[in-house]
């Protein structure tokens, strides 16, 4: 017999059942009886309780025969021993009456409606048993116009039942506040912005409203809620390090639409427009579908066997002639862990060199290196979930609402709930609006500013001496460094008044739990890795490590940039971060691969380019990376590509880099392959092929396996679970990971045996034992020292929500209709000096080259600072970026470029480039 535990049980229709603390009645019913047992129209799991439709009404009593009260179950908390009656005549009649009223103003065209069969109103109406509507036809809203203005979002508000779910999704999930309710009572209706169309509103097309809408009142061009799909596949988004889970609907091996699963721990029914809508690149006519070999300056289609034979012949020849170190590979943070593992294994075990690197080099290599120096592990210490527990958020050099939209939205939501937000960024980015402190420093002075930040924590007596004493080392050297700072100089170079820094530092240090996030605005600098170590210092000196709501949390750019490094796609560490030049580790890898491996540290990407130009590097294998467009100083990169003897490119599209290749192998996109991605919070998640590879293409992992086999290495054929099993035997922190055990929501590494993940690291001690403080004095970038006089403006680069990196994928989707070009942002004072008005064509020039872009005049940048993005190959912004690199990791300094600029024409005149007229409101010239 069940005994009544007064704190944990209540009666559901007479049955005694357990509930969880904080349960509403509806949550309790949903858990035990399944969603829909008690119908509702306005409640949605991803939204806060709302209580407006009243369809979820139930009767409750405190005693079995006690007086009953009708309450809305969605927002009424459950109390112990409560009697909940969900099916009484009274509530059934009430539900019926409400739905009947709703139907008086809803078109009864179910059969031709896009959501027929998957409409919540339809389901609820059927459930409550509506047979007829007693009210005569009267004034209604059935003639409202559809809104088909937007590349993705659609609305047909004649179908609207005023449940406000879309409004709440826009507010509570995305935090964009585009949708709202206008008018009252019967005249209440949904509007976008100031009653405009989707296209003209500030909508960021995240689609949260469309997913939340119970009818087809708000939908999208893919009709994502229609039930024409025959299959749904859960996979992981390929666009950024957040790692959103996606439900991909397919029919006849074609992707129809994408939704965000309700049970996804990472993104809980939310994702951005890239994840949800920008998938049509995958079967775009531009996709490469045949291997290509360059013969006499032209690409010729060949069979896979011909391509492999050609590659084997050339690689064998070059290795024999120039040695294995004349060959290098660049892996891709866009590919799976399994593919990255295989790629480095191919280069190390089959070619026999450590010349393997990946695009983490140009983004977060300083993070991996810096955090290893401080903590022993180059990965986020905490989880994004910790945002729910933190009491102070510090964002440094990251623009999360554009770059990591789902995490950005969460940060925004927390800030709106009153969690103090500190932003250190040279631009007034979107989250600055929600920030308590904004330290708008000059690009290139992170180290100076963070030193001052730490100084004020020290000076204010806010150092956590216990933590520092028991868990860290090298404090006294660091303290001495801080005491030697020249604050006047720092104020001058950063352009940030010291009192602002003191206030922010106090906020961070005095909060019981402070959490930092950083992005490429930290790493892509000449002192990038050092800046990362300074961020680690802040966390250690305030004891913000090893518990919920704290830590140092890099926002990784690419979907698997964490995983690519974990798998050993870097020249100095193999799979699992063991040092290649440590003889014991060299033996370990040798035994595991069954082949001799090199004990020499290999070349980093910029070193590879240099070696190619010097003739030392003869062959390069590129997997899914467009170095010509994305690496700095494009001219130099092109020169390197030209200098190579043999270039193999594995790609899905003909990229700027692929044009230089000797062999192009047509690969498959993330929708067509299986494996795992590791997101920025170390969460290893399963990628599942939703559709088979396009005819003629192969998943990257399979290509690598086949070339290994052709080169004579006995690698088994590619299977995701098979390679993961191999990885788990060599990478220590994957030890407990199995394909099955990862489950729907993945596991955060270290994954211990039994598939036990690790949401928070460094709980009692650091990976390296004691956490290490480092002090570095700030130094001006070589770029500014060398070119600052001639080119007095500082250009800093970033990216937009709508486009991903060089846009290979997003430019082949509807996103290209939303944002059509890179635009340069100039402060009004600078614009006035140069006679530039908004929309004018501007020529930016540096010591390396020039680009022409249209201008937007805005105070989001300070005078002297210029900002742009590099999504469009037509512009090739990297023509002007510099050769300066982070001194520790050779990560390029994209964020500080000495330039000058001039007006070259009005916005109406084509500057030799196509202009399209549409665009997201904030990217248009103002």
């Amino acid at each position: 017999m069940v005994t009544l535990n007064p704190t944990t049980h209540a009666y559901l229709d007479g049955q005694l059942l357990a509930f969880q603390p904080g349960d509403t009645i509806l949550k309790f019913v949903d858990r035990h009886k399944g969603r829909g047992f008690v119908p509702t129209l306005c409640d949605a799991p991803q939204l806060d309780p709302y209580g407006a439709c009243r369809v979820c009404s139930v009767e409750v009593a405190l005693k079995e025969d006690g007086p009953r009260r009708v309450v809305a179950s969605c927002h009424t908390p459950l109390s112990a021993g409560m009697h909940v009656h969900t099916q009484t005549q009274k509530v059934q009649k009430l539900r019926r009456n409400i739905v009947e009223l709703v139907l008086t103003d809803h078109p009864l065209d179910c059969l031709t409606c896009e959501v027929n069969g998957n409409c919540e109103l339809q389901t609820v109406a059927a459930k409550v048993g509506i047979r007829k509507v007693r009210y005569p036809e009267g004034k209604n809203h059935l003639n409202r116009q559809k809104d088909l203005s937007h590349p993705y979002m659609t609305s047909d508000l004649s179908k609207c039942i005023n449940c406000s779910r879309c409004v709440r999704a826009c507010d509570e999930v995305q935090g964009q506040f585009v949708l709202s309710m206008h008018g009252r009572g019967f005249d209440a209706r949904i509007i976008k912005g100031f009653d405009t169309s989707f296209e003209d509103s500030e909508c960021v097309s995240c689609g949260a409203c469309s997913q939340a809408c119970p009818t087809s009142a708000i939908s999208d061009i893919f009709q994502s809620k229609a039930i024409v799909a025959t299959e749904k596949t859960r996979t992981i988004c390929t666009y950024c390090g957040v790692g959103c889970n996606l439900d991909v609907a397919t029919k006849n091996n074609e992707v129809l639409s994408i939704q965000a699963p309700l049970d996804a721990e990472v993104n809980f029914a939310h994702t951005c427009l890239k994840g949800r809508y920008a998938f049509r690149f995958y079967n775009h006519p531009d996709r490469l579908r045949k291997p290509l070999i360059r013969t006499n300056g032209h690409f010729e289609e060949v069979t896979w066997e011909q391509a492999y034979a050609h590659i084997v012949e050339n690689l064998t020849r070059i290795r024999a002639e120039y040695g294995p170190d004349s060959i290098a590979g660049i892996s891709s943070a866009r590919c799976t862990n399994e593919e990255n593992y295989l790629m480095q294994k191919f280069i190390r075990a089959v070619i026999g060199t450590n010349n393997i690197d990946c695009c983490a080099r140009v983004c977060h290599s300083p993070t991996a290196f810096g955090m290893q120096q401080s903590f022993g592990t180059g990965a986020a210490t905490n989880s994004v979930e910790d945002l729910q527990h933190t009491q102070c958020i510090l964002v440094i050099g990251a623009n999360p609402t554009e770059g990591h939209p789902v995490t950005g939205a969460k940060i925004k939501q927390r800030a709106m709930k009153g969690v103090p937000l500190i932003v250190i960024d040279p631009r007034e980015i979107e989250i600055v609006k929600y920030a308590k402190h904004h330290l708008q420093l000059r690009p290139g002075t992170n180290v100076a500013l963070l030193n001052m930040f730490a100084y004020f924590i020290l000076e204010g007596g806010m150092v956590d001496r216990d933590f520092v004493g028991s868990r860290c080392e090298n404090w006294s050297e660091f303290e001495a460094g801080l005491r030697s700072l020249d604050l006047d100089q720092i104020e001058e170079v950063t352009g940030v008044p010291r009192e602002k820094v003191r206030a922010a530092a106090t906020e961070y240090a005095e909060s019981p739990a402070s959490m930092s996030f950083h992005g490429l605005g930290v790493t892509e600098h000449s002192m990038g890795a050092k800046t990362v170590m300074l961020i680690a210092n802040l966390a250690m000196m305030t004891g913000n490590i090893g518990r919920p709501g704290v830590g140092v949390n890099p926002l990784r750019g690419q979907n698997n940039v964490q995983g690519a490094a974990d798998m050993g796609c870097q020249p100095h560490q193999g799979a699992g971060y063991m040092r290649v030049n440590d003889p014991a580790m060299q033996r370990l890898y040798q035994d595991f691969y069954g082949m001799p491996v090199s004990g020499e540290i290999g070349l980093k990407i910029p070193e590879m380019f240099e070696a190619a130009r010097n003739g030392r590097l003869k062959a390069l294998w590129l997997m899914g990376e467009d170095v010509v467009q994305t690496d700095p100083n494009s001219e130099a990169v092109k020169e390197s590509m030209n200098a190579l003897d043999f270039l193999v490119v594995q790609e899905i599209f003909m990229t700027e880099t692929a044009k230089f290749a000797n062999v192009i192998l047509p690969a498959a996109s993330f929708l067509e392959k299986s494996g795992t991605f590791t997101n920025a919070e170390r969460r290893v998640q399963r990628v599942n092929a939703a559709v088979p590879p396009l005819e003629g293409t192969k998943p990257d992992g399979q290509i690598i396996c086949e070339i290994m086999q052709h080169m004579g290495y006995p690698q088994a054929d590619y299977t995701a679970d098979g390679v993961l099993e191999e990885i788990s035997r060599v990478v220590p922190f994957f030890k407990g990971a199995t394909w099955e055990g990862l489950g729907d929501n993945g596991k955060q590494w270290p994954v211990k045996e039994g598939n036990v993940g690790t949401p928070i690291m460094h709980l009692d001690s650091f990976k390296r034992g004691l956490g290490k403080f480092h002090f570095f004095a700030w130094q001006e970038s070589q770029e500014v020292l060398e070119h600052g006089l001639e080119f007095p403006y500082i250009l800093t680069t970033g990216r937009l929500l709508e486009h991903y990196n060089c846009g290979t994928m997003t430019r082949r989707t509807g996103n290209a209709d939303i944002v059509v070009e890179d635009v340069v942002v100039i402060n009004p004072a600078d614009a006035a000096k140069k006679g530039v008005t908004g929309g004018d064509w501007v020529r930016l020039f540096s010591a390396r080259g020039e680009v022409r872009l249209r201008s937007r005049i805005s105070e989001e940048v300070k005078p002297g600072v210029i900002y742009t993005t590099f999504h469009f190959p037509e512009h090739l912004v990297n023509n002007i970026t510099s050769d300066v690199h982070d001194s520790d990791t050779l990560c390029p300094e994209y964020k500080v470029v000495a330039i000058d600029f001039e007006r070259v024409g009005s916005g109406d005149e084509p500057a030799g480039l196509p202009i399209r007229e549409k665009g997201r409101a904030h990217t248009l010239p103002v």
């Binding site: 407006a52 809305a72 005249d187």
Partner: protein, 466 residues
Amino acid sequence: MSNVTYISGKEPHSREHRLIFRNIDRKGYDPGLKCYLKDGGYEQLKKAVTMEPKAITDEVKAAGLRGRGGAGFPTGLKWTFIPPTNTKPVYLICNADESEPGTFKDRYIMHQDPHQLLEGMAIACYAVGAKLAYIYVREEFPHAARILEEAIAEATKAGFLGKGICGSTFDLELYVHRGAGAYICGEETGLIESLEGKRPYPRIKPPFFPAVLGLYMSPTIVNNVESLCHVKHILAMGGAEYAKLGTPNNTGTRILCVSGDVQKPGYFEVQVGKVTLGEVIQDLCGGLKPGRKLQAVIPGGSSAKVLRADERFKLKRGDEMVEIGLEDIPMDFDSLAACGSMAGSGGVIIIDDSRKISWVLNNINSFYAHESCGQCTPCREGSLWMKKISDRIVAGKASPDDVATLESVANNIEGKTICAFGEACSWPTQSFIRKFREELVADTREELAGVPVNHETTLAAANLKN
């Protein structure tokens, strides 16, 4: 007090007991600070800031003051709902969104005696620990907003508001916030949303009880204009003395706003429960119009349930139950509730036999259909259907079945919405049908039973007729 003289024709009735309205329509009285001070203004605030805040709350509790906005909830008790462990700022909001049809008392206070309200608010803020308070004035009272702003400026300059009030350490900032013309903003959580700059959708309770999670998610006390004015008089008289006014559990005075079919409609401040409804009509208002008979009374604002002239009511008097007629109902909270209606906002609407009852109901339904905020489905859709059906009845285009449909729509709203607007809009229909079913059915047409109705034409006809 004998020197107080009033504008001719505005003299208080001998049955009145003026506290709050002492200076209303008084000769030579103006809303300025000088005038207020001449009459002992801000003396109670000076006293209050020397007291323990809790002592003030205790006086208000002892006085037995019940909210004058509509619900009649004990004011002192409401103040104690702020969690004792609270660390967030506490806010006080004066609800000056006087918009219940039939109610017109608060506007007189704001127009003619604004400092009385400010003093009451300042004392209340001191008692609950609020350093920031708002007066939420409905859009339709632009003059009141202007007068209050001038009064706030004057009082701040004179040290009755602002920093270190009356030489104490008590600081208070007070702001006037103007509504935008929605009845729902009189609902306290809707008001709070509106004050936050949002659409005034009432909040769900739980969890958003204003005393815990109110304005900016901080503890918030929302009190009516008249209620806050009473605080000053309670402090002046002492709670126990104040409680001697009126009747037990229905203490003090309150302002009745009488409108409709009487000789002299207007405002009357009386001791609660010391006058009957009959005395209100006959004595205070000079009786009905010549040759007219009383048909019905709505005793507490348009949302209060209607009382029928020939109805009999059972009321407890001492230990025994007595049966009384409408004219003998004492005008207090408990008696009116016992008679199946409520004292509400004090708006007494007298309806004589010249009025067609279906027209009265339709008038009320039109108001609520116009004012439903649209958040909850039963109310948004239901209030409109109640109006549509009563439109039809008025136009003589309804079938007898429509009365039952009308009643079922109302039953479907009451108690099934987030805020009390659901009750406010359904009680009139429910009570009119219960008490005047025959009259309503008589306005329908037997031959229309079962005939499909084109609603738009009947609507047009209804508009013509009205």
